[in-house]
Amino acid sequence: MDFFSLPDVFLRQMMRTMEIKDRLNMRLTCRTFEELVANSHAGYFTSGRITRNYLDTQNKMLIQIDDQSFDNSTDYRSDKLLNLRNRLFNRITLHSFFIDCDFSLNFLRVFTERFEIEKLTLIVRSKTALENSRHLMSAHSSSKCTLELMFLPEFTEIVALPPMYRLSVWARSEVRFEETCQISTDTFFKLLNTHTNLYTKLVPIKPNDMLKTIKTITATDVQRTVQMLVVPSTIVNWLRFYGISEGSNPARYGEVELITPLKEEYDGSIQLRYRSCLIQMDGFSWIDSGFLVVVSFMNNRG
């Protein structure tokens, strides 16, 4: 039986089930296999990334598809990487893919142009990378996009970001590394109105902004998660406004339902519900401990 006389539909299906490593080996078998590898869909992979290899002292580029690493041990040459991709598959589907947007936009765009990505995460550390991320989001418009902001752009830049599945602002203060960077309340509400899911560092909100946040999140039936850091006094004052205090038991307090009160001082977790929104507060203490509280609002998440 001649392998290559098998129906095309079968060969293509089989190629979709191959591991990347096997595709590399198949290339060396014969010219027809070499062509088959290059001109077939690689199938569906769980995850991949184009990031810097932080284990490497020179922070070289690391490309990974599932457990296969394409670690460029000599030098970063985009033509070499593009040539390899061209000879390994003509299309590929990935459940999730991470891109460090610090690399050249042209390379990132061309390298991923044959990628069908369900969840695209873009890591942004600079102004140039932010610009790159906008182009990549546009090029992968059917993907659920997440932007991981590792620096804090200007107000006009951050509020001009296109609506996306998830925006995470993980920026740290430029003054003191260990100091948490904060975004203004005004910026926070603009982002809240634009993006489905939002994760931020410190937001200097006031107790009445808590309700404004919840009302914005619950305005539609869309599943949303919003997470931010809040100073403890804001939380304490907001809870006291509803009559919830240290000794409160699980019950309804006006529009707020206390589901899980703070059990022990060291536990630090309290759970509430406001209509369809579950509110989880971690690192909470009735006495100001100096630590920020992680507040997560989850709308329609069960």
């Binding site: 039986m1 392998f3 098998l6 129906p7 539909v9 079968f10 299906q13 089989m14 979709r16 089930t17 191959m18 591991e19 490593k21 096997d22 590399l24 080996n25 198949m26 290339r27 060396l28 078998t29 014969c30 010219r31 027809t32 296999f33 070499e34 869909h41 199938g43 569906y44 992979f45 769980t46 296969q68 690493s69 394409f70 670690d71 460029n72 041990s73 000599t74 070499k80 040539n83 390899l84 000879r87 589907t93 069908e116």
Partner: protein, 167 residues
């Protein structure tokens, strides 16, 4: 109710209606011939000709279908793009296919393709992919009786270009 299937070598197989319906091709033919589950006369008076399947291969296909007739229908995404990660060959299917040498697997695959029985087709694809998994190029060539038409210089060039992506 039963359905009669006739192979290329004129062998008649009488199978349960549910098994016949597992093949998209047979389903379409039954529909075209106005054969319905509730009309015994239509089933008794007609047989489905399957000119691309031999008796030996049909027996194997029916054995596979018998085993899988109660399976829940799998959610298939567009272009079966989830195939690589979710299509796991079950232990029974591994056992069913393990003694088939490549030529017989191809015949079975040809029947699965013609009869449009996606589950069997995917099982065989994955089984052949598993046969290739972890093998070196010369082992793959030997397994499929492939003559390597790449020159040593070409092989060297391919190796050189991909050396940096080896583990």
């Amino acid at each position: 109710p039963n359905v009669k299937l006739v192979t290329s070598d004129n062998e008649e197989f009488v199978v349960d209606f549910r098994i016949a319906k597992m093949s998209v091709t047979v389903s379409r033919l039954m529909e075209a011939m106005n054969m319905s589950e509730t009309d015994d006369a239509s089933l008794l008076s007609n047989s489905i000709p399957l000119p691309n399947v031999t008796k030996a291969v049909m027996a194997r296909v029916i054995e596979w279908c018998e085993k899988h007739k109660n399976d829940e229908p799998k959610e298939e995404k567009e272009n079966d793009k989830r195939g690589r990660t979710t299509h796991v060959v079950s232990d029974w299917d591994k056992e069913f296919l393990k003694n088939d040498e490549f030529g017989r697997l191809c015949q079975l695959m040809g029947a699965a393709n013609y009869l449009e029985i996606k589950g069997l087709f995917n099982d065989i694809s994955q089984t052949i992919a598993n046969m290739i998994h972890g093998k070196k190029s010369d082992e793959i060539a030997e397994m499929f009786n492939i003559h390597c038409d790449l020159t040593e210089a070409e092989k060297k060039e391919i190796r050189k270009k991909t050396a940096w992506c080896e583990d």
